[in-house]
Each structure stands twice: as structure tokens, then as C-alpha cells.
Amino acid sequence: MSRQRGKTAAVVSAPRKKKESFFHFVIAHKWLYILMLPGILYMLIFNYLPMFGIVIAFQDFRPFSADSAIGAYINSAWVGLGNFKKFFTGYDFTMLLKNTLSISLLSLVFYFPAPIILALLLNEIRSVGYKRVSQTLIYIPHFISLVIVATLTQQLFSSTDGIIYKIMEAVMGRGNAPNILASPKYFYGLIVGQNIWKETGYGTIVFLAALAGVDTELYEAARIDGAGRWRLMWHITLPAIRGTIIIMLILRVGSVLNTGYEQIFLMQNDLNYTASEVFDTYIYNKGIKLAQYSLATTAGVFKSSVSLLLVLVANKIAKLCGEPGFY
């Protein structure tokens, strides 16, 4: 853990001789390599094999053209960038891009800062008991499945008996309350709102962990010098979590096209389809349901490539600004 790293960095360990050959090292430390074996095999099979599987984005993949998957890869015809052309010029591409980016950008603006703000507020709470109880409560939704979150949302917003719908009806008048579940207009807000409710509390943990490392004497000293609440926050608390904020931001930027399958899939219905179909659900609907493997993989390759590019750029910018970055 990072707080202990400084202490141990200076200790030079293990290699018995200064210039041991690689072979001798492996023999002497054979257990290290044996221990790694399951993990390496796992990555090769479940991470790297699918990476090679993206060749079907450049094929007209017919899974039943041979007895084995490898045979099917070999038998399928190459179509070059044909699938990409079909995907980009398809009538749904602009819709997918608009929905995905809208949900991601709304998340970035409203959902990303929420845990930071809540952590800063929690940090101002002096009463240990009050703080512990509220932390215990606000972490709970993180441990609730998306199926249950979807169910709760439907029960609360349902236009037949949902309590929030009834409240809106009481405020806006009968017949004027929006049916949030069945209208494309409210879908983005619904998804971002679910995220904020579910993950804000739990999201504070990484920031509170970073704040736990702040020397309390800094606050004392600054306060004696006459610094108020806002100056303490600006000059001590925020700098303490800046590195964490930047790492989280890099990861978030990298997943701009990944809205996740499960949450949106669970809230999707025929009525909000025009707002709820994103790249992730498209890949499922086209690839798995309709077995258009090549087209769905093309969408996946596009998504993964853009994500990779964004992470690399964000990481580079962070490093240029003198931050440690993600890797």
C-alpha cells in the first residue's frame, strides 16, 4: 500500500548473487512462476484469446461453417473494412453515438463530482458516531444488484402506483406528471440518477482513504494562521486527494463509450428505445440475440479502440501536468 511504500523502497532484497542468470533465477524461484501460472493462463484464455477473436470484425463470420471455432475463423470470408463501413453508415450509428455520449457526459458532469463533494462534506463532520452511521448507510446501495435497483425504480416511478409518480401528480396536477419509465426524454436522467443514488456513497471511500493520510497538524497550523473552512479545504484537503481524482478521471474518460450493459439493458423498453440503445446494448442485441457476430464485433472494436486512445491521451496529459497518472 502506498503509505508503506516509502519505508520499504530502500531495502534491496532477495537475489543472492548480483548477476544471477535468468535461468538460475527461475530455478531458484520456481515457485514464483508456478504460482503465477493459473493467472497467466487465465489472461491468455479469457483476455488475450478474445483479443485475437476481433479478426471476425474483418470477416463475414459464419460460426457454423466448420465444426470448431478455429475452423469457422478459417472458413469465413474476409471482407476487409466492409463491416466498419456498414456499421458507420448504418442508420443507427448516430443514434448510438448520441445516446452513449449523452449518458457519459451527463455522468461526467453530475455523477463524477458527487462522491468528491460528499467526501469533502463527510470530512467536515466532527462527530465520529454521526459520521460512522451515515457512512454505513450510504455505502449500502453499492451492494445492491442492478436488478433490484431497476425493480425499485420501476416500483417508485410506475405510472399506475409508483409513489414518486403520485407525488409528481399531486404537485403538477393529474395527468401532467411525466411517465419517466416509458419516455425517451427522461432516460438519460434516469440512468445518471440511478448511478448517483447507487454509487455516490461508496465512491467516497477512495477519497476518504486518501484523506486519512493527511497530517492533522497541517490543519492545526493553518487554522492558527487564521485559515477558515474554505481555505483549509482548498489548500490542504483538495491537494491531498488530487492524485486520486486524476486517476479516477482518467479511468472515467477512458470509459466514455462504455456505459455498461446491465443497467441500461434492465431499464430499456420498447418505448424508450430511441434514447436507451447504446453501443453496449447494440452489441448484445445484434451480436448475441440476432447472431450478427461480425457486425457486433465491429462495434466492439470501435468502442475498445476509442477507449484505449482516450485513456492513453488522458494519461499523457496527466503526466505532462506533473501527475503520476494511471500507469
Binding site: 502506498s2 514464483l32 471476425i56 482513504a209 492533522t216 486517476i247 452489441i283 448475441i288 479502440s305
Partner: protein
């Protein structure tokens, strides 16, 4: 948890005290808003269908009823789902922890030859993936479909969790390892007898992360498991909630047969309660490990 910074008493201006009160109120309201829906569902699961229709909101039902739970017990689907989910979660988490710690330990040793190569191998998986369809093809051509292995193996390692464990291992003082080595212990013995016992906090929190993921996982089960006998609780939950609405998933009305029309709303709520309670029971026991377990750090180093 952030340390308190009170210490010396310094007079606060009235304006500052107003801010302080506002902060307490805001946190309190936020905390209540997160649990209110659960309390409503819990209360609703014990309420009569009439009360659920007539009263807008309540935390204590005026008339106590177990009909919803009786209905759930009669159909039995939730309990089959619960049993399957317990198996998936327990075995899955053990597999996760074996794969994760055995990969994290060698990578945490700075003297490991080829360490950079292996760490880069991990980082690449965090930055790029083949995506859903190629993974689906790999998993189905390995014939994992319709077995729990489809839920266990493809998620055996989460790279972020692995990094958390690796960083924790790295923080354990090297002197302990040195001493054991002088006593003639092999790397395996050092890992099993020294490193693992010293890593309880991170093992507890990472196990919880994995367990929660298994318990809550819906999508993978939907993709890979079609066998009704292997249905996990989230799938059962989704189906029961659809069915309690009186329509089949294909939209046709249901013939209820001998069970009779269920108390629809209460059944939805009771099912939600049954599927949530197990995770909430273990939550307080592991909560104290969270902050120790989730330090986000650089991947390398």
C-alpha cells in the same frame, strides 16, 4: 476514515456554524434517501395488497400480512435461485482469491525476473478488451455454457482487485521475507505462511468485492445459463417480478392454476427482500476493512 481535525478549540463565526449545521443536515438527508426505498420495500413486503394500493407511503404497515412470503415459498423459485447463487458466490469467490493472490504475490516481488513483462500483460487487459462477442465465442467453444464454470472462470481475476492485493503485498516489510529465507523457507512457504496471514484486511475486502459481484451478477447468467435448474437468484428475481405482474415474459396473461392470483405488489417486494438480505447480512462484518482495502494507487512500482 479521515482523522478528525478538531484539537484546539477555535471560536467559529456564526456564519461558519450555519455551514456546519447545513453539512450535518445534508449528510443526514443523503443517508436517509439511500435507505428509504429499502425500508419502504421491507414494509411493503409485509403489508396487505389493499394497503399498498391505498396508502401512498408507509414504513410500518397497519395490517401485518405474510401472504407474499407464503406465495414465494409455495412457488419455491427464489429458494432454488438462492441456493444456486450461494454455490456460485462461495465457489466463485474462492476461485477468485486463489487466482488473484497467486498472481499478485510474484508480481509484488520487485526482484522477479520478467516482472515488467507480466505487469504490462495485466495493464493491457485493463486498457483493451476483445469485447462481448469474441469472449462469448471463446466461452461457448470451451463448452462452459450452461455450467457454473461460465460464471466462475471468465471472471476469475479482476485486474483492479489484483492490483489492490499486489500493492498490499508490496507494503509488507521485506525483513520478514528475508528472515524466513534465512531459515530456508521456499517462496511457496513464504507466500502461504507469512504473506497471506499478514494480508487479512485486503483479503477480506477484495473477497467481499468479488462475492458481491457474483451475488449481483445478472448479465453473465443471462448470457450463459439457460437451464432453469441452474437459475441464479437475480434471474429468478427478474422473472418473478415480471410474472407477479400477471403477464408472461412474452406478454401473454398467466394462468395461475392452483396457486391463485398472488398479491402482486407485495410479492415483488418480498422477492426483493429475500434476494437482498444475504448480502446485507455479511456487509457489517467486512465494512471495517473497506478503507484499508481500497487505496487506489499507480499500477506499476
Amino acid at each position: 476514515m479521515a482523522r478528525q481535525h478538531n484539537g484546539t478549540k477555535i471560536k467559529r463565526s456564526p456564519g461558519d456554524q450555519v455551514v456546519q449545521v447545513f453539512i450535518y443536515l445534508f449528510i443526514g438527508i443523503f443517508a436517509i434517501a439511500t435507505v428509504l426505498p429499502f425500508l419502504y420495500v421491507l414494509a411493503g413486503s409485509f403489508a396487505t395488497e389493499r394497503e399498498l394500493t391505498e396508502r401512498a407511503f408507509f414504513i410500518i404497515p397497519s395490517e401485518f400480512s405474510l401472504n407474499a412470503y407464503k406465495y414465494i415459498i409455495k412457488t419455491g423459485d427464489v429458494f432454488k435461485g438462492l441456493k444456486n447463487s450461494v454455490i456460485v458466490t462461495v465457489v466463485g469467490t474462492i476461485i477468485n482469491m486463489i487466482f488473484t493472490t497467486t498472481l499478485a504475490y510474484p508480481l509484488s516481488r520487485s526482484y522477479l525476473r520478467g516482472r515488467n513483462f507480466f505487469i504490462n500483460m495485466v495493464i493491457i487487459t485493463m486498457l483493451f478488451s476483445g469485447g462481448m462477442v469474441p469472449s462469448y465465442l471463446v466461452i461457448s467453444s470451451l463448452k462452459l455454457t450452461n455450467t457454473f464454470w461460465a460464471l466462475w472462470l471468465p471472471t476469475a481475476i479482476n485486474a483492479f482487485n489484483m492490483i489492490i492485493v499486489k500493492n498490499y503485498f508490496q507494503g509488507i516489510p521485506k525483513e520478514l521475507e528475508e528472515a524466513a529465507r534465512v531459515d530456508g523457507c521456499s517462496d511457496l512457504v513464504i507466500f502461504l505462511k507469512i504473506i497471506l496471514p499478514l494480508s487479512k484486511p485486503t483479503i477480506a475486502s477484495v473477497s467481499l468485492f468479488y462475492a458481491v459481484n457474483h451475488w449481483n451478477s445478472y448479465f453473465n447468467a443471462m448470457l450463459y445459463i439457460n437451464d432453469r435448474n441452474k437459475e441464479v437468484v437475480q434471474i429468478a428475481l427478474r422473472r418473478i417480478i415480471f410474472l407477479a405482474g400477471g403477464i408472461n415474459t412474452d406478454g401473454s396473461p398467466i394462468d395461475w392454476g392452483v396457486l391463485g392470483q398472488p398479491p402482486e405488489k407485495a410479492v415483488k417486494m418480498a422477492t426483493t427482500v429475500v434476494a437482498t438480505v444475504p448480502i446485507l447480512i455479511i456487509y457489517p462484518f467486512v465494512q471495517k476493512y473497506f478503507t484499508q482495502g481500497v487505496m487506489v494507487g499507480a499500477v506499476k512500482g
